[in-house]
Symmetry: C2
Amino acid sequence: MTSLARMLAILDLFDEGASVWTAEAIAGRLGYSLPTGYRYVRELSEAGLLRRDAGGTYVLGPRVIELDYRIRVGDPMIMAGQRVMRALADDTGCDVVLGTIYGERIVTIHQEHGGEGIAATYGRGRRMPLFRGMMSKVILAELPRPRLRRLHEHHREEAQGGTLPPDWEGLVLALKAVRKAGYSISQGELDPGLVGIAVPLVDKAHRLIAALGFAITGRRFATSDNARLVALLREAADRIARSLPATIAEQRPASRPRVRRAAHA
Amino acid sequence: MTSLARMLAILDLFDEGASVWTAEAIAGRLGYSLPTGYRYVRELSEAGLLRRDAGGTYVLGPRVIELDYRIRVGDPMIMAGQRVMRALADDTGCDVVLGTIYGERIVTIHQEHGGEGIAATYGRGRRMPLFRGMMSKVILAELPRPRLRRLHEHHREEAQGGTLPPDWEGLVLALKAVRKAGYSISQGELDPGLVGIAVPLVDKAHRLIAALGFAITGRRFATSDNARLVALLREAADRIARSLPATIAEQRPASRPRVRRAAHA
DNA sequence: CTGCTTTTCTCGTATGTTGATAAATTCATT
DNA sequence: AATGAATTTATCAACATACGAGAAAAGCAG
C-alpha cells in the first residue's frame, strides 16, 4: 500500500457514521503514528478535502463541494444524461435517477425530479445497498463474472440482507435472468411504497456505464404500463449513450504538442 | 513538496476550464514523468476521486458526489445553518447563502431558495471572485492582516477587476469600514440586477467562520428596509454560531480509549 | 488479426517518508 | 493576562519506497 493510498484512506472514515474526526482518532483507527496522522490530515486540509473544525476536529472540506459543482457542470456523462433525464421526468412525472458503480460501491450520480413529490431515500450521492434495488440488480447483472465474484465474496454479509439470492449460484442465475430481460423492477426494496424500474446504460462495446431508472409510487405502478416505461427508459439510455463523447479529441491541452514525457523535473 | 501534495495537485487541474484530462496531459502539465502521472491517476481513481472515461480520459469521480452527500447530511456547520437559513428564506422570500474561505478561495457551501425564483449565478459549490460580492467583502474584512496580505499579493490581477480598491492601502481602509459596519451590501457585482447583503459569522472567539447573506432583486431592494434585513441576518448568524458544536465531545470513536499512538504497524 | 495507443512492470538508485521525541503552538480556564 | 493542558509541528536518523527510464503488457480500433 502506497503512502498515497494510506492518505486517501482517511476519506473512507467519513463515509459511514462519523462525520467528525480528530487527527488522533484517525491515526489510531488506521494504525498510523501520530505525526503521520497529522501529516496526512494537513495535506488533505491544504487541498481543502478536509477542514479543521472547532476543538481540533476535522470534517470533510469545502473543496469537495467545489469539485462536486465541477462535476455537475462538467462531467460528460451527467451532461449527456441531464437533458434526456429532464425530458423524461417532465414527460412522465416520474423521478429519474442515474447510478453507477465504482470500486465496490453503487452510487446515484444524478437525479431529476418528476414533480410528484416523491421523497426517495436514495438521492444524489447516496450509496445504495449492493444487493437490493433496481439499479444494483441491473448493474450487477452486467458485471463481468470475475468482478461480480469478488464483489460477492467481499460483501457476503450484505448479500444476506439483499433481495437477491445470497448464494453464488443463485445470484448468478437470478442476474442472468435480469440480464436477459434487460431491465429490473423492484417493489419497495428501498423505500416502502416506492417502485423502481431500471435499465442498464452501456456503451457501443456493450460495457456497462451506468444504470438509468424510474422511481414511482406503488399506487401509480399498479396501473402503469410497465412495458411502456421500460421502453422509455431504453430509449433514453440509448440516447444518452449515443451522445456520450466517444473519445474526447479536443481535450489535450492545446498548448502542448503531445509530449512524450515531461520536459522538466 | 510531498508526493501527497503532488498527487492532490491533479485535482486542481479540474477546477477551471477543462473537466477532462488524459494521464499524459496531466503528467505533462504538472511536470511528472509518465509512470508517475499514471501512478497518481491510478491512486486517485482507486479512491474514486477520478474516473476513467472513454478513450483514456479521466474525469472527476463519483466519490466526490458521495462525499458531497456526506457533507450535506453531516457537516456540523451546514447542519447548524440549514434550519436557520431555511426559516430565513421562508420568512423573507429571499435566497439565503452561506459561504466560507479555505486556502485562498471563497466558496458557497450552502444555499436555501426563497421562492422568488432568483437565478443566482453563484450557487452551491461555486467559487466566488475574491474581491467582489457581498460575501467576499465581509469575509476579507474579518481576515487577520497577514493572511489578507498574502491573499492580496497572490491575486493582484484579480484585485484589479474587483469592486474594492486594488491597492493595498485602499483595500485595508475599505475593509476596515466594512468590518466596522458589520455588513456589506453589493449591488449587481455578481449578477446584474441582483443585490447581496452579507454579515460575517464568527465563533465566540470572534474568529471568522463563514459569511451569511441574502440575495434579492434590485427591484425589491429599492423598497426594502436594509437595517431590518441586516438585523435578520445578524440574528440568524448568531443563532447558527451558537448552535455550532463547540467541541464535539461525542466523536472520539467510543471503542478506543484515547490511544497515545497506534498499537500496530 | 494487426498496428496503434494506453497503461503497467521491472529495477536500481536516490529521495522522501516514517516514527520517537521534543519543541512549539493553540486553547480553555483561572 | 497567565497558567496548564491540550493539539500540532519540527527535528533527525534509518529505512522504505517513490522515482524515472525503458520495456513489456494490455486495450483498442480498423
